[in-house]
Symmetry: C2
Subunit: 333 residues, 2 copies
């Protein structure tokens, strides 16, 4: 039996493209001692991947050249040498872009139970994206009812959940996104009070100020760069900026330049903080419960963009950076 | 009887210079109804003044053209129509660059008692500078013993106190300053473990990294700009950046550019926050007690640069931006 895998062949520098990967075939290994053999059902495709690929100081070691691309996945245990897992269990964890993963149990994040919702939700709204949205927004943002929240990548896998949680917390929500289609999605599906297409709205600073007549108390920033620059001027006194992603910056080497923000920090007493969900494993279980309850009550919506076939993963990743995805991107293996 | 005053004649745009002020003479007014007449003894000269002068959105309304320059001062009550103050009381507050101030009692910050130390301390180590240093450093920095603290404007009126408080909290302290004389002051008087002259040390990023072999946990930033840029790369995971001043940026209109920092926020989970001491009046009394105790025990040192004569105030202010002062700048009236 063969195991198809997507391996990294070259460091991208900036945005990873299909030519930086290769679809290869290896023998299916046996179940490792004390570990598991997992048949992947769905693979996750995440913006954070470019940081995992590039050989710069990040929060995780870079994927080695020739190695299977690091990825979260959800799959079924098909071989177990661990007393904690049985064949037929569904698990989510670091199983990589491949059909079959032979892993130690420390690569498993958790078991997935049918009662929580569809299997795919474990990689999106009940996975990295939902947990990031909830913990970053509530933990750093500390939202109060009546505050204005601006979300960049507002229709994205994380942003769309932030917008909805902000609304559930009683905030007024404004989204920035990159197409008219996504603007409609923001207001019609995700309940934003207003949404702007930053590519076509003209002077973005003026458009943001007009869409946020009471200023902005919390800025959930997934883009950085010029889009974020347009928001800083509209921040309110004691505003909070959650730095969760930097989607609009294609390359950080050399460091791009932009307007200095130090003075805003003082005159407005801003707080800006970076967030990485892997620092907060202790809060994952309660967060999944919270999100799962909103999901079941219908208060939280999500959209998925599911592609078929392992070989589609590299192109799906590029589509993410080009903004042509339509919801959380997943690969059905 | 005449009252000499320094009035603002022109907005500076950037750094205020003597030609933007004029020494004038007015009649001494009577004691206002319900208020006080105060004979100023010492006037404060502060870097924040350029923000109070320029007609841009700051945390205080700009000083009007033709108005007496806003300033903290310490003086003696020479006329009182308030039951809370008697002639002969010493008070500190917003009395301006003038000999005699006729003010409402809301301009008084507090009475100054002889037991706390010299009168001048109420404008420095027991005033705006000391209170800023303590509350910003402990409140945002949350120092832990063994952490490394880097202070820009390390020999300045605020920075020198931050460095000493950091040492008292068990931190390793490294100072950045702009002359060899101040470097010696940092290590010999203020107890810094190391200090660098940023003007002569060559590659500042490399020098900072060498002076902070365990990285930087807390960056108390009074300079912003290229000096601060050299520090960001040496920040540790979960580092805190306290934005207290922007001394190295001469002009904020138009916004100067510099390397983007968003990615550092994520990879290092940095927190950056701006601080203005006027947000924290409730904590002033306990902070003054704390600082006063360190002062009496000899654990806290300070240096003053006292100039004689009201007319010296504008030049003393310029000297502050040019870094030629030698401690907290005060005008003896």
């Amino acid at each position: 039996m063969q195991n198809r895998q997507v391996v990294l062949t070259e460091r991208a520098g900036g945005i990873p493209r299909p030519e930086h990967f290769e679809l290869t075939t290896a023998e299916v290994p046996g179940t490792p001692a004390g570990g598991l053999l997992i048949r992947n059902h769905y693979l996750s495709v995440d913006p954070a991947m470019r940081g995992w690929i590039n050989d710069t100081k990040g929060y995780l070691a870079p994927v080695p050249i020739g190695g299977v691309m690091r990825s979260l996945a959800v799959g079924e245990v098909v071989g177990s040498d661990s007393p904690d897992y049985r064949e037929g269990d569904f698990v989510t964890g670091w199983f990589g872009w491949q059909e079959i993963a032979a892993v130690d149990t420390d690569k498993v994040i958790r078991k997935v139970h049918q009662s929580e919702g569809p299997l795919t939700a474990s990689l999106g709204v009940l996975g990295l994206n939902g947990i990031t949205a909830y913990l970053a927004f509530t933990g750093i943002g500390k939202p109060e009812p009546g505050e204005t929240v601006l979300v960049s990548t507002a229709a994205g896998a994380v942003g769309s959940i932030v917008g909805q949680i902000a609304r559930l917390k009683g905030c007024r929500t404004v989204g920035l996104t990159g197409s008219d289609d996504k603007v409609s999605q923001c207001t019609e599906e995700f309940g934003y009070d207003a949404a702007l297409n930053y590519k076509t709205c003209g002077d973005l600073s003026a458009a943001v100020a007009a869409a946020c007549p009471d200023g902005i108390d919390i800025f959930f920033d997934n883009t950085a760069g010029p889009i974020a620059d347009s928001v800083f001027g509209a921040m309110n006194l004691f505003g909070r900026i959650i730095q969760c992603g930097t989607a609009s910056i294609a390359n950080w080497e050399p460091l791009p330049e932009g307007p200095r923000r130090e003075r805003f920090f003082i005159t407005k007493r801003l707080l800006q903080q970076g967030f990485v969900v892997f620092d907060h494993f202790d809060k994952w279980p309660e967060t999944i419960d919270r999100l799962s309850a909103w999901l079941k009550s219908g208060e939280l919506r999500y959209r998925e963009d599911i592609r078929d076939g392992l070989g589609e993963a590299p192109q799906a990743l590029l589509d993410l950076y080009e903004g042509t995805n339509r919801g959380k991107t997943l690969i059905r293996v």
